[in-house]
Symmetry: C5
Subunit: 257 residues, 5 copies
Amino acid sequence: MDLGAIVGLLFGLGLLAMGVMSTEGGRLDQFGSLGSVLVTVGGSVCAVMVHFPLRDIASVPRLVWNVIRPRSWNVPALIADFRRYADIARRNGILALEAVVPEIVDPFMRRGIQLAVDGTDPRVVEDLMRTDLQQMVMRHDRGIRILKALAAYSPGFGMIGTLLGLVILLQNLRDPNSIGPAMGLAIITTLYGAVMAYLVFGPVAEKLTILSHEEERVREMAIRGVMGLQSGDNPAVLEQKLMVYVAPGVRVLEPRA
Amino acid sequence: MDLGAIVGLLFGLGLLAMGVMSTEGGRLDQFGSLGSVLVTVGGSVCAVMVHFPLRDIASVPRLVWNVIRPRSWNVPALIADFRRYADIARRNGILALEAVVPEIVDPFMRRGIQLAVDGTDPRVVEDLMRTDLQQMVMRHDRGIRILKALAAYSPGFGMIGTLLGLVILLQNLRDPNSIGPAMGLAIITTLYGAVMAYLVFGPVAEKLTILSHEEERVREMAIRGVMGLQSGDNPAVLEQKLMVYVAPGVRVLEPRA
Amino acid sequence: MDLGAIVGLLFGLGLLAMGVMSTEGGRLDQFGSLGSVLVTVGGSVCAVMVHFPLRDIASVPRLVWNVIRPRSWNVPALIADFRRYADIARRNGILALEAVVPEIVDPFMRRGIQLAVDGTDPRVVEDLMRTDLQQMVMRHDRGIRILKALAAYSPGFGMIGTLLGLVILLQNLRDPNSIGPAMGLAIITTLYGAVMAYLVFGPVAEKLTILSHEEERVREMAIRGVMGLQSGDNPAVLEQKLMVYVAPGVRVLEPRA
Amino acid sequence: MDLGAIVGLLFGLGLLAMGVMSTEGGRLDQFGSLGSVLVTVGGSVCAVMVHFPLRDIASVPRLVWNVIRPRSWNVPALIADFRRYADIARRNGILALEAVVPEIVDPFMRRGIQLAVDGTDPRVVEDLMRTDLQQMVMRHDRGIRILKALAAYSPGFGMIGTLLGLVILLQNLRDPNSIGPAMGLAIITTLYGAVMAYLVFGPVAEKLTILSHEEERVREMAIRGVMGLQSGDNPAVLEQKLMVYVAPGVRVLEPRA
Amino acid sequence: MDLGAIVGLLFGLGLLAMGVMSTEGGRLDQFGSLGSVLVTVGGSVCAVMVHFPLRDIASVPRLVWNVIRPRSWNVPALIADFRRYADIARRNGILALEAVVPEIVDPFMRRGIQLAVDGTDPRVVEDLMRTDLQQMVMRHDRGIRILKALAAYSPGFGMIGTLLGLVILLQNLRDPNSIGPAMGLAIITTLYGAVMAYLVFGPVAEKLTILSHEEERVREMAIRGVMGLQSGDNPAVLEQKLMVYVAPGVRVLEPRA
């Protein structure tokens, strides 16, 4: 679970609520407004529907789920696994890896090793794995661009809501008692737009960019690992090759003769 | 029909209307203003006339029609067609494709195959098709830039309208009853400018960019297909070549020996 | 005459005037203010004087004249001319072009052909013509950057004028009758700045960029044409070479064996 | 100690305080507000938690400490040291540097020379040192990006706080005495956001970028120095090589035959 | 003297003053405010002290002096000088230039020719001159970046001053007579920030960029000239080589066989 994102979002909203309640006369129920939700959230989603193809928009919820439950990669463990597989392949031939395939959790790595076991031409294996990886990167990228568009459109629709509210307000100026609350209502849309941009869609899109880069890196290590298994690499050599994918801070600690 | 764009635009405007009507004292007739249309829409169009050559501006309506009625490309069906043509050409010679030309719907593809049937030098065929494609891309690009300029100018003219309104208002302050409505009127131009930028011209320009990239990709597949027909490619080989233009997600499902 | 620019500017200002007059209480004489012109126009021009060398600023009026009276290029006619010259040069030798030089309207083309007739080394001719062309592009570019700077500075000085006005206003609050008109005056500078940026300097700079690109393209065709005359190109071959400078849409219509 | 940063921060805050106190009716206690701190500082930190991985955020305090206590590099002294080491290595062999290792203050340089003394393969030494350097640069870069994000988010949360305050204010308009102070409170959040962006996080991030570039440069000199020791460079030649890392102004003063 | 910059700055401030005085109720003494200077000018300078190393900031005044008293380069005269030196060197040997050195005004050129007279290896001469030039470019560049930072920070501190003023104002609302003047005072800081950015630091930084490019070009010509003297170039050939540094407009007028 991406603790930072969850805690940041919940704490962020909590701090805004505390800020409201610590102010004299501030109550949370002053900030709920159906009309403001319609204009700000609804308007931004509609602009995104005009902007992007529907099939790309449909993939966003699954992508956002990655922020709530991101895969965590134990890269040293994966490298140890590859070393073990290389050991098996060297002793008993690559076909002996058949027994090992079901225990692999990650479907990308499992499919790659299965293809190697099946005796597929290494160039075809690499091509298939790279195509898969490229497809993942493009899918993530499209989703991230939609979230960034939401972050860009929401302040705009917040402002549109405020302008709608101001026009209504100014047409009803004769009733002085209604000015204050109506003005407050108009401002709530700008507030919603700013919170959506600065606390939700903007930072979430950035976190997804970072997570996607990490996943891409791990998958590239897996491709190189499968390539090494097929070319019959010595386990120690394969381990050495994959070590470059470990964060530098960790790698330096390993003694290298 | 690009459902997302139509639904997004109509729903977007509808949500704004609902936001207005859900607010106490809000009525839609408060938002119609001929003067505001003149300044915001008219002013932006005039700035675009200063900015771009008239012949480019004249091509925008046809381009926007593409958002309402975009071509939809059934790429796998097109590839199946090319496989069939390659089959005919191999068995009965490329001249036998003459019978097939009238059934081709897309004029770009039809002209290409007609040229091949006529025995035109393959390099000339490719050159003519590429020129055509380049011309289409440039035409789309010029139109898209005009729409983006409209999205950039409209908030500016919205602000100009508001400033015009404010000056008038402040010169007539002695009549307190006219302040509210006049102020509302002034704000309507900024509202128009923001809706034009955030809901209409901005997202439509982005959708057109995406549609133009898709069309370019399909036409590049057609060029490669016609080239393959002329060089007498084996139907299976030609199909393989064209498969790279299918989205990766689909392609991976096909087994490739 | 660049119809779009003239019509856009005049119609744009006209629409703003109509917007004012269609508003209750709006009169055009409310928008004239000597102080606002001094601050907005004068201030922007002074900032540009600090920013750019005086010799570059002096070239702007002539450049802007190009928007009002741009050269229009009949590229197919120029190509037909070059074909005719190539014909004369092939039959009677390049010296025979001497008779043709005085009829050439464009001084750039005329000088190039004169140099060819004088028997100047082709590399020197090309070098001189390219230097001339480069000089023109740089001169245009410097002027365009000044217009873009004016478009960037004018909203700033509009804001400065408004701040000046607000300070004066707030120091004289005791006289309530003067608030409205003085406030209106303060806002006029921002209005001037916005109109200068969004309707005048911004779009004019962009139109000049487009016109400059067109002129550069025609001159490059002329250089290639003169080169062809000197190397004794066959008229048909020369025409073919110059055809690539015609817009693709036109070119495709020509049948090419 | 980075005098400029310390003096700039303290003087900057002091000048703001003096500006307040020199204004009639201004008192510093008007600018303390717990709610504003919660929304502006807390909100920005929460957005950064959503944006970046927690492990990167944890490294920021140590990085900021570098602004308060940056290492100062006496590059000419380091070059003199390397010249001395080269002298020792040439006379008594590289093993004689063993005695010199404990006196080296900088751990990066010390480790490099220790590796050289241990007879490690020069390519391995360079690889290890470069990895270490790259790791430092990436660590700094991640921290700097977090500070820049804080500078970007803080005005946003300042605005959010102001909107929260305005809504509360407008809902309590009936109590006219509370308007002024509450409005002041609302504005304090925007003030906090602007000070955080313009005086603290923005400039500190920029100073760290400059300090990081300097440190990278010194470390690259150290790598080249250790390489020179291992390849048995003549002391004068090694000094010459390292001189290119001295700022040009200093270098030119040295006469070079 | 850079007439444009001086006239632009003085006229710019004068026009603002005229704008104030042409407005009813406007007096220049309304715009002086010690507190505003402290916050806007002082705050921006403090932010720059946090941002840049002190040694870079110390070089700014001398750089700005260049705008007030820029060197003016008579490039054709310099080329004529080099032609004369080449003539002397060809007739009497390069040592004969010794007599000419003291008359050279520009220290950069003088040192280069002195080095040539001293018989220094041409590669060393070029290296020393290039190092000097690079050092000058870097020094200018650092100073220009500081001025651009001042232009970027000053509107921020203008806004901070306005927010400080607004908070004070709103805490003292009970005294209605003090509202207007205090509000005016608050706005003065934003005014100062805008004038600093749009009339002073922004355009001055841009003018310095242009002046620095010109000086770099002249110095590159000098390097090439000294190289030509050392390689014993024919005076006419050397003149030809240096002519490429003359602005194209001038060069074309020279007939070139």
